[in-house]
Assembly symmetry: C2
Homo-oligomer: 408 residues x 2
């Protein structure tokens, strides 16, 4: 994406309902404690062009299996989401329950079940309390509102400490298009794995093919470039729906209008992805790992993830230690082509290593730089033009506490 | 390895100097604080058949680079080790210093520098205090003793909480052969990456080819099947030296004598590898992950490592939680072929999942099982005959503390 495009985006309120043609509703169906909202429905006026990407985990949750079938048509009327139960490792009954969620939504909206995407997040291996969820869906579908985006963003949270939503507008050929999004990050009702869900809407008249192209390109460099703890959920899902309510000619999978909308979707996905990292379990630091000079983008990504997922690197950042030796170690084990004698590492703005050899640096200045909330670690392999950025957080006592607590 | 062979092994004292034809010496050269021994020399009477495997990290330390050259001849007279400084990311001077270690050892023993393996462990990116190290080598070479194994095992420790050594004998064709070994595990002088070093000796008359075959087979299923925190050091090294001092015909790379010695070396490497895991940084639990029913051994190993390296799994074990959903998640993301509907998981002896679906289990019994120091997690993929075992430890507050502490 051309970064200059970003200056064309104007932030607006409303999240997923900021684009015209979308309404959302949320209710407390009784899955979360304390009467908090836990079921949300996001709906367009008709079945609109849509695309989705799903977890690559082979142990995929039932809603992922069902939604993969439903999105194949390239259109979707609505998505129904519950928090508090992942409906994963639930066998044949799990599939029955996921289909019941789609049917309940379809009945409430007057559409076909195959036009509904379903999504669940929460504890694994516990049967879905499907009666609670379908009652919740009916209530949420009744409560649909053109300013319901924020309440939906809250309903899909588990132990996220804040709701994650964003929307931007852009002017294009005399029209104003809007892209909105919401996401949830790493958290749990009971200690269980992080689950990433993201829903992006636009009123641009994208074709189904354009939706798919836009979404895959954006996810590849945003949600697929973050890591809290290297674990891949059974429930991950990112959905894009394009209502076309802003009007104009259909936008296919190429051309200037496509590029502009793609940039806006990329921007929205990137912001949501970074919000997920900022709210990572136990995180005290937000870390941007930039690898450049790699032989390819794939190599740069490999090296960046090796750093971002190294427990030794993550604990060093937590400890405020510019321990660049651990960065060198991670790059060396990553599988990327590396010439140790060309390695350059700039740790939180402090040059620590050139040509694979230590530089003397002011430890006090390093400690001050590492006291910041946001840390950038830059690695230059000096081998080629491959570049990649990955976002992660530190590994803290709180991460161990949150995930080591007993489920009860 | 045929497990029945293990009953033929008799444990003996003496570690690496238990086999005839080896002497070791250790001194405090001033690299560690508090006057603790930090330089060791292990020597045979002449250059004997030997083999070594080294870290696959492309950012390899200087002693790894030099030792790779020297072991190519298939023979080695001695190994010189220092703890307290890894001589990694030290550029051209690091290579000069590593060669100086070999030369000092060669001078003291009256052999060629190319017959000496050198090895370092400790902080990365700090120039080796080479004068201290070579003086230490000279003193250690003067102090060589046939019962110096234990002092060498202590000298190579960094923050290991106990020295790791073992030796066993076996009777073969009327002769007694001995295999001994020592290793160091995850620790540091100053917070830095774990470094695994292991040295194995035998008085069996292995040829260089047999040494190589024996060592690679043993390491592949012992040291290469452990993980403390998924990070691969720049300095890892495992060396096997065969003095032949027990006499008998040379033992080549096949036949019953080869198999018996190979089993003994496998046993010694396995015990050392498991001792490293027991002494993992911050570890409170020793975890054996067994995956069976995989399509291949490679797939089984992939799945086992995905479990062993999952921070969510490791924190769950720390918290005493039979959170089998995280095991299912890890298997699903591992890259191994998995049919979710066949997945079976037995967590600390408690059946928790069959056919990919939750079993009801007694949470109190599970809590009691997980209170044990040693935990076995068994996964059956029910797809084939591939089996693999990986050993790991839990992820604890102490891991974060040890690695988050500032280096100073």
């Amino acid at each position: 994406m051309d970064p200059l495009l970003e200056i064309l985006f104007r932030p607006v309120d409303g999240g997923v309902t900021a684009p015209r043609g979308f309404r959302a509703g949320a209710v407390a169906a009784g899955l979360k404690k304390g009467g908090r909202a836990d079921v949300a429905v996001l709906a367009a006026e008709t079945a609109v062009p849509a695309a989705a990407v799903f977890t690559t985990n082979l142990v995929a949750a039932a809603p992922v299996v069902v939604s993969r079938e439903h999105i194949a048509a390239g259109r979707c009327r609505a998505v129904a989401v519950n928090a508090g139960n992942a409906n994963a490792c639930t066998g044949a009954q799990g599939l029955v329950d996921a289909r019941a969620m789609a049917s309940a939504t379809a009945r409430a909206l007057g559409c076909a079940p195959g036009e509904v995407i379903v999504s669940s997040t929460g504890v694994i291996g516990v049967p879905l309390p499907v009666a609670l969820v379908t009652s919740g869906i009916e209530a949420a579908a009744t409560a649909l509102s053109a300013d319901g985006g924020s309440s939906a963003a809250e309903a899909i949270m588990t132990t996220d400490t804040f709701a994650k939503e964003i929307a931007v507008t852009l002017e294009l050929g005399g029209r104003t298009y809007t892209v909105g999004g919401m996401a949830k990050g790493s958290g749990m009702i009971q200690p269980n794995m992080a689950t990433m869900l993201a829903f992006v809407t636009t009123d641009a008249p994208l074709t189904p093919e354009a939706c798919d192209a836009v979404l895959r390109a954006a996810v590849d460099r945003t949600f697929n470039r973050i890591s809290i703890d290297s674990d891949t959920s059974t429930n991950d899902m990112c959905l894009l729906m394009a209502s076309g309510a802003a009007g104009g000619e259909p936008i296919g999978a190429s051309g200037p209008a496509f590029e502009a909308i793609a940039a806006a979707v990329h921007h929205v996905c990137g912001e949501l992805a970074r919000l997920i990292v900022r709210d990572g379990e136990g995180a005290s630091k937000f870390i941007e790992v930039v690898v450049r000079g790699a032989e390819s983008e794939a190599d740069a990504t490999r090296a960046a993830f090796a750093i971002a997922n190294s427990p030794l690197f993550k604990t060093a950042v937590f400890g405020g230690d510019a321990n660049w030796g651990r960065v060198a170690m991670a790059v060396g084990k990553s599988g990327a082509r590396v010439d140790p004698d060309r390695l350059e590492i700039v740790f939180a703005g402090i040059p620590t290593c050139v040509n694979g050899t230590a530089l003397l640096f002011d430890e006090q200045a390093a400690a001050a730089a590492l006291a910041q909330r946001d840390i950038v670690v830059l690695v230059d392999l000096h081998l080629g033009a491959g570049t990649s950025t990955v976002w992660t957080c530190d590994l803290t006592y709180d991460y161990v506490r949150i995930n080591g607590d007993y489920r009860s």
